[in-house]
Symmetry: D2
């Protein structure tokens, strides 16, 4: 059977994920950052901290986890031009609950296809590779990418747009820094306090029900130079989407007007150009800041749908691969009822990686 | 300024697009097809014919265009293991209407960012690279990919799910071959005759108004072996999406339940497993046939949103880059009021390319 | 059986060869040249003309061949940032002599392993892919690469260092332009007229004998910025060698002192540093201008060994794959008795491609 | 300045080196080994042990170093299809001797171009990346590659062919296993005891003189299926050479007759075919087992020249980059007088990596 060799992304800003959820560590190697760029390890740690589980009781328990260990590539706060390798230890591995899943694949989880593909010996380890814990490496890479982008003025912020049926109806029209600040004041990472409160309540209710819930994350990126992206296979949409879908649980993505664009006339959808402060500017942004795969100068806007976590405490119908019989499964262990808030920082990370890759490719970052 | 080097896709099934809309030809080089596989050039031609403009009056005019020229890689109806190069000539190039666009970028089109990125000398040629005509190369590659997939039982069909507000409410539950047959009986490539009729009417009205309209294409792929795809960066979703977004005008994609998954509970969304004819089978398919980036054995189901064509006859506000003044633009020339029906075959093509790439990577096609 | 997908080289300066010796054309796609660089198609043609067969009688016959056809990527003498595709037609294909080789593989030629790998249906076409004629694409790419390198002061010249036992004992210490001029005055492309005369005589004698002869080509490249190259897999030696060995008939390569370095003490071999015109300069050049895979500022110097052409008129022992018997083979058709002089421009081309790739990678050409 | 992103090799058997000579560890990530293959970590350790310094006094001192730490990819002695990461700790780092080199680049070493390329802050770390210690990662990858190759009958052995002017005149015609056994009985890894003795004496003399000495390593690989390799850029010679030149100190390579082929007539050089045990077989092996970039079934034979170590105790002329004056340098610290014997296992490793890459590409190992 074939090997899993695609744990690497990128031609210029190359990310290789390593480790697994049940091994000693998870992390990433990042290649392609030019020498001499200022890089703060503390900022990477801060982004990792944003991946912590949501909910007051849990949050404190795991507070000291995920300490970043850097090995090479940064000296005296600057890139040296070589690969940057960083990881965090897996300190809290509890194998037992997973061992029972060996023969009864969880509905909605990679268990079953991974076992068929990689065999019974490999499936636990496979499960480890498919784990959301691997996104630690994405966050590491994304935080470095972001630090490469900021000096040319690119800023990225994502936030929770909806949890289940609780929607953020309107996105506050404030600068990105302020949007970010508002998000940081609540655990669900939503810029409106009232909506955030209702989202949090829904998550807690869902937890009590032994169930899980999905949601939508919206991303904004501003300050891109005009023309960033490549036509066709390296389009901004292609690159952002490929990376977004590498996050387990993401099942949809739309740029700008997105699916709504399919309902519209060209005369309604096209963004007219005008001059703003002497610069050519799209006067609306139905395109989400992207035309022909290239940035237009307007903010990049896109949304991703995150499905509900597959591991739930409620009994679910599945099969026993050993006995060949149908059976009911109750997944134990600690599982997030909603990973949307924790995924916000991961989506920011994949966005930064995409922009770093295309920025380097287009000569905007060299 | 950086070069556009990303006209290539794939590590195992490698596609390189060449040509431009205003040059002598457009086509593709396809590398990676093992030697000895049966490949019909006629079938590639047939797929190219499906890209023809929709609407009776236009269809006849361009009937003899896009004759495939093959150069190398196929001998006596079989792959020889080397690169396959194929192209069609651009026989009907009318440069003049485009020259006027040099200084007045079309709203909704790549004109503006391409010009900023590649400079005034390059933008026409750039426009040529950004043209939908480049999808000829995708269709060539896709048709070859499909012929590589069929012997292991993989079938792909796409169809028009909506045009503007005209929706296909229910997808007929028939085998893919029958679905395909029904689509082929109308110009909009929709399996329901009544809906197809209304879609066609909407397109004609839109044309008369000098406007354009968007729509949604749905894709089905069946017969995939379980486990096709790679975790993370090479997930089925990542690969299908990256290729779908390389099609100009695609602005959104969703797999299975897609954005609706973000509204649901895990207990509603997870697809339970059961045995069907002795085989483990997901009993519902909210996952769109994909878990952890791998195929589950259930049909792959996804939808893409196609925005309305940007080139419309109605006056639009834009700027004159030469004079620095705002101006109104009326795009002349022949433009499709709706490219959704023509894009159906292109989406099938990118689907086939994605599955061929991942099939080769996973050892399913060697 | 596996596919031949490796007709592409490079990450930044990407070359894809296409065509075959018996198909309609051979050529290359070149990706990665930044937009706006001056590129002369005439210069590419001039390099192609240097590939012409050596010997007065032959030269005239094929004088009109190999006219370059450019399709895209260059407008008004400048790169537009997109792929450059160029080819020459195969106007003088004589299939018949080759058909007889189908079952009796030529000693010293790719016939036998190609047939085993790609099967009987493919071997002619395979022969076509393995042909020295494919180096047309290398020369096209190399000439474009050279034009990218010259503006930063990089010059490349190769010459014939030996044919059989006829050696150029000493390389004249003159500027590269003068070296080049002297080479251009004789058909064997050797900078010393007396040696060139003896080389030419040896080639003519060899031809009369129905035999062939090998030789050595030496390459000089000057004007490289210090530090061009990458450590380990992207070292200057790795990249130059990988490309040199892609030329059929090259069997050895040595940099600087080369094999002689294996005989020496460190105290004899190390190149001491001194100041020349205020610049740090290696005072000798046993390293061939490369340390740790990076350029030192001294001229790049390397030599490649070219084996004698495998197709000779003398009877050779081989096997008949159809009958399973041993047999004698006399290769008819027009074959060069010595391809060394024609290969000089090809080695210059691969050198230029290597330096363009590494120059772009290191940020020296952006 | 550009980034060093090329610490990775391969498309199918992908090797990424990490660490540096002065950081906490060095190692490799290996991707592309199909799931379910037997892999012994002990064998990797045994190959690492062969990299130990030569000479009785030194050998014992460092005996316990370089213990392999495996993290992921192998479970219960079999590959699981995911990346294999392994490293050894740098336990004996002595920074001080190197710090003095910061401003006085060692002749023959990467110091100078690395400093120019990556700047003063980076050069120590750069020195670390350029260190021969990084070949630990090559040996790890090579040992895994070898274990992937053996089940299809491929065996690789390298040995010391010469040290300075001490040559192994004739290679014993014995099976590879026996050749290997004889090599393992002496420290210089030469199959003839008398020659080995003289080589060892020369190395000891050289050490006493505070000097260093070069040598030649010869490689044999047998059991390759016919047709392994790709035409042009992925030829066996290109791939083997690119990897061989990634080993610091390798300055030349020749396949089969090598440079001697340049002296010969085609009638002398071509290897005639005959039948041996009913199989088509080249009756001589001037081609070194490779035609058209593909394996012929005859043993692969090639030689690499290793230059004398650059770090020697003798005073050498260099420059002081801080003061701008010429100066004399005496390199202190522990340095091998001859790295040829230690490089034997590294050349075997790069050979195995090349064959694994091409074997996977050609479908011979799947």
């Amino acid at each position: 059977m074939g090997a899993v060799e695609m744990m690497s992304f990128g031609e210029r800003f190359r990310v290789t994920l390593f480790g697994s959820s049940h091994g000693p560590e998870v992390g990433a190697i990042v290649e392609g950052i030019p020498a001499g760029r200022p890089l703060s390890v503390e900022r990477v740690q801060a982004e990792l901290d944003r991946r912590r589980p949501v909910g007051r009781s849990l949050a404190s328990k795991r507070h000291e986890e995920d300490r970043l260990v850097l090995d090479g590539g940064i000296v005296d706060g600057r890139s040296v031009g070589g690969p940057i390798r960083a990881h965090v230890a897996n300190t809290d591995v509890r194998r037992e609950p997973y061992d029972r899943l060996r023969d009864t694949p969880r509905p909605g989880h990679a268990d079953f296809p991974a076992r068929v593909r990689f065999g019974p010996a490999a499936d636990l380890s496979g499960g480890g590779i498919f784990s959301g814990r691997m996104t630690v490496g994405l966050v590491i890479a994304g935080s470095l990418a972001r630090q490469l982008l900021e000096p040319i003025g690119i800023e990225i912020t994502a936030f929770t747009r909806s949890i289940g049926h609780v929607d953020l109806l309107e996105v506050p029209e404030v600068p990105l820094a302020e949007l970010r600040r508002r998000c940081s004041e609540n655990e669900v990472w939503c810029p409106d306090p009232g909506t955030a409160e209702r989202m949090g309540q829904l998550i807690e209710e869902t937890r009590r029900d032994g169930d899980s819930i999905g949601g939508v994350i919206e991303v904004r990126a501003v300050g891109l130079p005009i023309g960033l992206g490549e036509p066709f296979f390296g389009s901004l949409e292609s690159t952002l989407a490929a990376l977004a879908f590498s996050i387990p649980a993401v099942k949809a993505i739309e740029f700008g007007a997105g699916f709504d664009a399919a309902r519209r006339k060209g005369s309604e959808h096209n963004d007219p150009y005008g001059f703003v402060n002497g610069r050519v500017t799209p006067m609306t942004n139905h395109a989400g800041g992207i035309l022909g795969g290239l940035s237009t100068g307007a903010p990049i806007v896109y949304r991703v749908a995150v499905k509900p976590t597959s591991s739930i405490a409620r009994p679910q119908r599945t099969v026993n691969l050993a006995t060949g019989e149908e059976t009911m499964l109750v997944v134990t262990g600690r599982h997030d009822p909603c990973i949307v808030p924790r995924a916000v920082v991961v989506v920011e990370a994949t966005t930064a990686v995409a922009l770093a890759e295309l920025g380097l490719r287009g000569g905007f970052l060299s």
